[in-house]
Amino acid sequence: MKVVINADACTGQGRCFGIAPELFDFDDLGNGVVKGDGTVTPELVEKARLAEANCPEHAISIEE
């Protein structure tokens, strides 16, 4: 499982790196970026789903 951010849709709402700092970081403009290659380890699956479900811009997707 991987998390992906659609950079065109991201406006820096800040929810993903707030909910799952293990999976997401922010750049110097405050936009969300995926850490590493976005691989979600089993213990982070729930956080990944919450990050996806809380993004107001629908910018996050999960690839199974």
Binding site: Q13, D27, D28, G30, H58
Partner: protein, 402 residues
């Protein structure tokens, strides 16, 4: 503020966000409009529209072709194209449209990025505690006028590097811009001129004595190798003051208003401090303070409504946050709501640039208030007042703390 306007009888055809019914409790009005319209209209303010659903609010927010941001505060002062020289606008980047918007926004975002903002946490915590200390051992305190309002104004004053003794004046500037929507165009113009003179004085002081603050940052900033025009610097300072103070103040005071009336939520927050992050998002959803505005950029049909150039559109993010199509039990405050795609900070390219700061201030303010006062109740519910206009929050908030 004048109250000579007739009271609204039907919000679908004659809405007014300064009407007492809207100011005191807008939620039933929005619910009614969502099912009945869903785009309301009024001839007031020279003509305006109000889409009441999440879907339509989202569509307006993301459509920068048909809607312009050159004026975002709906008032009787209805600007013409000549009043708003493109591309800078009155308060960049919030009043800027593409393509200039991206340039003006890129300039300010680094100053409000999470890394920079998070470093302010100890300072915000200290400010909250000094306000709480000032309340002494009073049995009744004012969560609005003694606490909530002084947190963002204190943060912004330090950020801009403006004199501490001018704090009361900043609050007045905010009220002038946002609350006085029923003032005449002439009055609003006169106030704008007075504020500009003050900003010019502070800017001169920063030119003479550069220091490590946001004002100096703006004075040093460049677009394509050229320093910003004075109008741009003043506009962004005005934006920082107006958008950074009333908004967060409102979010804090409305959250305290909620906790004062919902002892179960207060007890959960006190006993389960780890809930604070989801609770903050639910406070932001349920009591989203900010309604934005746009001007229609060109005649077009919007969801069956014949929108004309220069009509206002009131952009109801707080209404979108209560749309049952998007939120389960939308009219219920659920302190541990885990899925919460709220739009309190807007949507699209104008997402609130200060959202990281606002969220941090709200979190720290609630944490410190409930640490000091683990139980509290509303002292006199009938005395609570809410601000009129596009930024809604509790103003007078008497709270019994012992």
């Amino acid at each position: 503020m004048s109250h000579t306007k007739p009271l609204v009888e039907d919000f679908a055809t004659d809405f007014d966000h300064a009407d007492p019914q809207w100011v005191n409790n807008p939620y039933p009005i929005w619910e009614d409009l969502r099912t009945r319209c869903p785009v309301a209209h009024t001839d007031r303010y020279g003509g305006a529209w109000f889409p009441a659903t999440h879907e339509l609010v989202s569509r307006v927010a993301k459509d920068t072709e048909n809607f312009t941001s050159r004026s975002v505060v709906m008032s009787n002062l209805r600007p013409t194209d000549e009043d708003l020289p493109a591309p800078i606008g009155i308060a960049p980047p919030i009043t800027s449209d593409p393509p200039f918007h991206a340039i003006a926004r890129r300039l300010v975002l680094p100053a409000f990025s999470p890394g920079v903002v998070n470093a302010l946490e100890p300072q915000i915590r200290a400010l909250c505690n000094s306000l709480l200390d000032d309340m002494g051992d009073a049995a009744v305190v004012n969560g609005g006028t003694q606490f909530a309002q002084y947190i963002p104004v204190g943060v912004i004053q330090q950020m801009l590097g403006f004199p501490l003794e001018d704090i009361e004046m900043f609050l007045q500037i905010v009220i002038d811009v946002l609350d006085s929507i029923d003032s005449t165009a002439e009055d609003r113009q006169a106030t704008g001129d007075k504020n500009r003179a003050y900003f010019e004085k502070q800017i001169q002081d920063h030119i003479d004595n550069p220091r490590d603050d946001f004002t100096t940052y703006l004075l040093n900033a460049e677009i394509a190798g050229t320093k910003l025009e004075l109008d741009h610097v003043i506009g962004t300072i005005l934006l920082t003051l107006v958008a950074g103070i009333d908004t967060t103040w409102s979010a804090i005071s409305s959250s305290l208003w909620h906790l004062a009336q919902n002892p179960d939520d207060l007890a959960r927050l006190v006993n389960e401090p780890e809930l604070i992050d989801v609770a903050v998002e639910e406070f932001l959803r349920f009591y989203a303070p900010v309604t934005m505005a746009r001007l229609v950029a060109k005649d077009h049909d919007f969801n069956g409504c014949p929108m004309k150039k220069d009509d206002w559109v009131l952009l109801g993010f707080p209404a979108a946050n209560r749309d049952p199509e998007v939120f389960e039990d939308a009219d219920k405050f659920i302190i541990d709501r885990r899925e919460n795609r709220h739009v309190a900070f807007g949507l699209g390219i104008h997402r609130c640039a200060g959202s990281n700061l606002a969220r941090l201030e709200l979190k720290v303010a609630i944490q410190e208030f409930i640490k000091r006062y683990p139980t509290f109740t509303l002292e006199n519910p009938s005395e609570v007042t809410f601000s009129p206009g596009q930024v809604r929050g509790a103003r007078n908030l008497p709270i019994r703390v012992k």
